[in-house]
């Protein structure tokens, strides 16, 4: 049974990863990151249940807290970039171009 949860988590994670690499809208990219975090949480909870200890749930809880902090900062950066560049596309920021 735990294997099924693990496979589900991995599938969700991979979908998130693909979305992260394909989508250009910074918000959607960010959501994909959240999806990957959720996949990890699922794995944590599944293994917590598998081993019969609560530490995995604890870890998932901390991931949520960190994710909350991360979302707050990330979104404010996106808002700022949108305000100055009038675009949410991650390709538009190719000022990194060498």
């Amino acid at each position: 049974m735990t294997s099924l949860y693990a496979v589900l988590a991995v599938i969700l994670f991979t979908i998130g990863l693909i979305g992260f690499l394909i989508r250009r809208n910074a918000l959607v990219v960010f959501m994909c990151v959240e999806l990957m975090l959720n996949a990890c949480n699922l794995l944590f909870v599944a293994f917590s249940s598998h081993h019969g200890v609560l530490d995995g749930q604890m870890a998932a809880f901390f991931v949520m807290v960190v994710a909350a902090a991360e979302v707050v900062i990330g979104l404010s950066i996106i808002v700022m970039i949108t305000r100055t560049r009038r675009s949410t596309s991650v390709d538009a920021e190719n000022v990194l171009k060498g």
Partner: protein
Amino acid sequence: MMVSSLMVTDFSLVWMLIAIPAVMAGLLLSLGKVTNSFGHFLATLAPLASFTLAVMYFLDLWGKPVGERTVDIPLYTWISSGSWQIEAGLLIDPLSILFVLLITGVGSLIHIYSLGYMAHDPHRRRFFAYLNLFIAAMLLLVLANNYLVLFVGWEGVGLASYLLISFWQEKPSAAAAGKKAFIVNRVGDMGLLIAAFTMLAMFSSTSFVDVSAGADMLSPGWATFIGIMLLVGACGKSAQVPLQSWLLDAMEGPTPVSALIHAATMVTAGVYLVVRSGAIFEQSPIAQLAVAIVGTVTLLVGAWIGCSKDDIKKVLAGSTMSQIGYMMLAAGIGPAGYAFAIFHLLTHGFFKANMFLGAGSVMHATNDDVDMRHYGALRQVLPITFVTFAMGYLAIIGFPMFAGFYSKDHIIEAAFHGQPILGVLALIGAGVTAFYMTRLMMMTFFGQSRWRQGVHPHESPAVMWIPLVFLAIGSLIGGMALNSWIGSWLAPIGAEVGEHTSWLPAITPIGLITMAVVGCGVALGWLLFKKDIPDTAPQKVSIFTTIGRNDLFGDVVNDYAVVKPAELLSRAVATTDEKGITPGIEGFGRFVETLGTKLRVIQNGYVRTYGLTMVIGIVFLGLFLLLSRLV
């Protein structure tokens, strides 16, 4: 004895002698415009304070028994490296205290004189700061107890000399003269440094005491080597042939500088060095002879130049070279001549400073004209200058009872005893000296006035003529006062006490011949220059005059011997750089640039591509880990 017992002199405070002017120079230079209005007075107080201290120390030394007149004052360990330990320390002995008195005494007078002479110069504060710097460096030079500390002072006076020669830096000629002096002096410094390093290798110490003690063990070859290297150093600083060319150009500096640095004190450092290193020279007759020959050649070259110049300061500069040549000759004779070398050095310090300052006074009166052909008949309008200058004149030609009479005659006599040929040449030099000094007197103070239009000569202010009077008194009585005393005073440093040590002039055959030769020179000068002197320098002159006017082609020789080869070498180096190294480096740069341009494409600026690259990397890493576990 009473004096010394009353005075509480603490020799550990000798460093104050140096520190006072050094600190004053630092203050004037760092405080800047704030001290513009009063800085020169402060600066004048510094050498006076040092002089007062020096007199106290002198009296104290005088009061001590002969054996205890050498006081070594260690300051701190300067360099400590392996078995070598170089202590920075000061040494007060009969020789150095005489120098200290000369430097601070004449230095003070020249500071006072400069108060008047530089009164209207916009950079007066800087001038006085440099003068103080010079005094400090010169005192360090003569008070050092080893060759390396001496070298610090040696370089210090070189720096001060450079700064003061090119003091009017807006004049290209002054700037060039300063650089010339500095560069020519480097050659001499190299000699001194090599000598010091050799001593360090030989004796593991450079202190005068150790060197004197160890000199006996030195092989003649090494002794000659060290001696010649010291001579090279002395030649550079004292403008002796072949490193004489800078001194005439150094007259571009203000006249008080010429008087203090390029007549009375710094240029005599070479003589000091040779006398100080007497122990080395005694081991090597060849080096001694070299010193004597250099002295004699310079003595004649200087006199020759003095005869042919029309610029009053350059005549005096030539004369300075010539007189230092006498001192070197005396130093080269050996212990018998040391006392006479120092004796002549002291008297020369008085009468040459006197004449330089007199020349400055004349220039002050004639709107800074230095051409003697534009003078004439100045004795009526400049009576004080004339009288004091005349004292210097009588002293330098060796008129009986005047300072030079004692000191110079001793040297000529000693030379006759040592190397008769050199003695004859020195005698001729005395005659030529009399001739060109008479020429100078005639052209400047006698005859018809040939003043330029708008020149109204007037006597200098008191602040300028009072130092002249002091120096004139020194020129008058310096010889008589020191004659009976200096030989025994300098005995502790290795000088042999000569004969005729009373204050009365001794009548010897050589003395009489000398007087006769001098008389001939004076008469010749008077006969040739009592008539009208052309306003402009005549062009149809003998080959000797042409050579003399061109400083015996010293610059040309330097040009072909040093400057041209150096230029050639630098051009070759530049060509190598341009044709060989630059293309190589540039080629490498181009290669890197091309590579960068090619690699730049990878950095397309898309975050997503970077992300993808990262994920691919992770996949490969995971594969690697997996496969490594399988294997």
